[in-house]
Amino acid sequence: MEEGSRREEPQKEEEIWSWGAGTDGQLGTGKLKDELLPQLLHLPSLAASAAGSISMLACGGAHVVALTSGGRVLTWGRGTSGQLGHGEMVNCLYPKAVNSLEDHVITHVSAGWSHSGFVSDGGCLFTCGDGSFGQLGHGDYSAYSTPAKVSYFVNNHVEQMACGMRHSLVLLKGSLGSQVYGFGSGKRGQLGISVEKIKSANLPRVTAGFEDIQITTITANGDHSASLSVDGKLYTWGRGFSGSPDINVPSCTLPSLSFSQVALGWNHALLLTDDGEVFMLGGNRHGVLSNTEKLMNTAPNHLPGTESSSFTSELFILSTSLFLCPLTSFIFLVLITVDGEVMTWGWGEHGQLGLGSTSDETDPCLVRNEKEVVAISRVYCGSGFTYAVKAVD
């Protein structure tokens, strides 16, 4: 603080845009309807919370978890399973603070089909929402409408949580090196805990095979799980892509390549290599690739229409793992190019492509809002809806 000056840390303003499926209030517009074009949100509760800008969003089946730079959490959208953490089982149309977490500084949030996870700076993990598959990790199959601490990790430092449709992954940091745990539905091998399939786990179980590998990121969606190691190796487990067999324990995928990001959908995965190339696993239907005859089962494919775009590694550092946004729906995709342009393609029935119609697109299209290109830094996808964040100086 300079003497004589009351100037506080200048806060970057942000624009938050949303579009797609909206009948549960997940778009934060206050209206219960789908939006075919990006809507600029006016969220007074975010500004009023005076907790800073949005550091990340997590979008689930029909709800959103927002983390502010001040470590506060706001949730909105579908809440009928308790996934909003407000202590009730109702939907919420506007961002509402999760009061029971106000004594904690939250550093990471995640959202599955109907559950949510919150990680504090002290390494505690809290979960709430549907628990009928054990995906909350509390040792029961109950729903929780308020975030409850996962006591299994009381002596560990949790760093990240990733939520699939009905399963959860946790990444720990500690002197023993990183470790990954899984709980929830395991029917497709997505917990990665045993060569034999485990139907479900309601307490965290160690995901196999990472004893000597340092994992930096975990991600989950649908019945898929994936992680990246510090040296860029990609591991996948869970439901197989394109009809391949399920994988019950983590398997190094495309071992000759080095990856910086992975984003999972319900039926596919988008992979970004260190060289800025984009590959896809699965997703061989519904126009996600223009030329489906070229597809082989799990062979990765360059995405047509992206060869001429440049995806620099600098952009990815800025937008973290959500440059390739976590693709809850298997059938629409969102990319950000180096110029901050958003490109979408795939299934468009709910307007989730943000192109102003409900048509499907087989090739990447530029998202515009009334002729103005929305220059975006981060994109987040839920089931059939999309959020984009634009930093405005």
Binding site: A21, G61, A62, F330, E349, H350, G384
Partner: protein, 76 residues
């Protein structure tokens, strides 16, 4: 698929955020399609006709998600 008491149907998440649904009555008459009320996607249901009469919590699986041929809806 899981039994949803409120909807009195077996349900499974749809990528659009809603649920594929099929009632016991549908299954009883041999219906194999669980539809989403919000969009044109549907899934085929694989089940053992004898199972669902006794215990509603078992025997339900689902096949691949299928989209019906879509009509383009131009927006002015």
């Amino acid at each position: 698929m899981e039994w949803n008491e409120e909807l009195q149907s077996f349900t499974y998440p749809c990528p659009c955020g809603d649920l594929f649904q099929i009632t016991k009555e549908d299954l009883r008459i041999g219906e194999e399609i669980a539809r989403c009320p919000s969009c044109s996607l549907y899934i085929t249901v694989i089940y053992n006709p004898e199972d669902f009469d006794e215990d509603k919590s078992k025997g339900k699986k689902q096949g691949n998600i299928i989209q019906q041929p879509q009509q383009q809806i131009p927006v002015a």
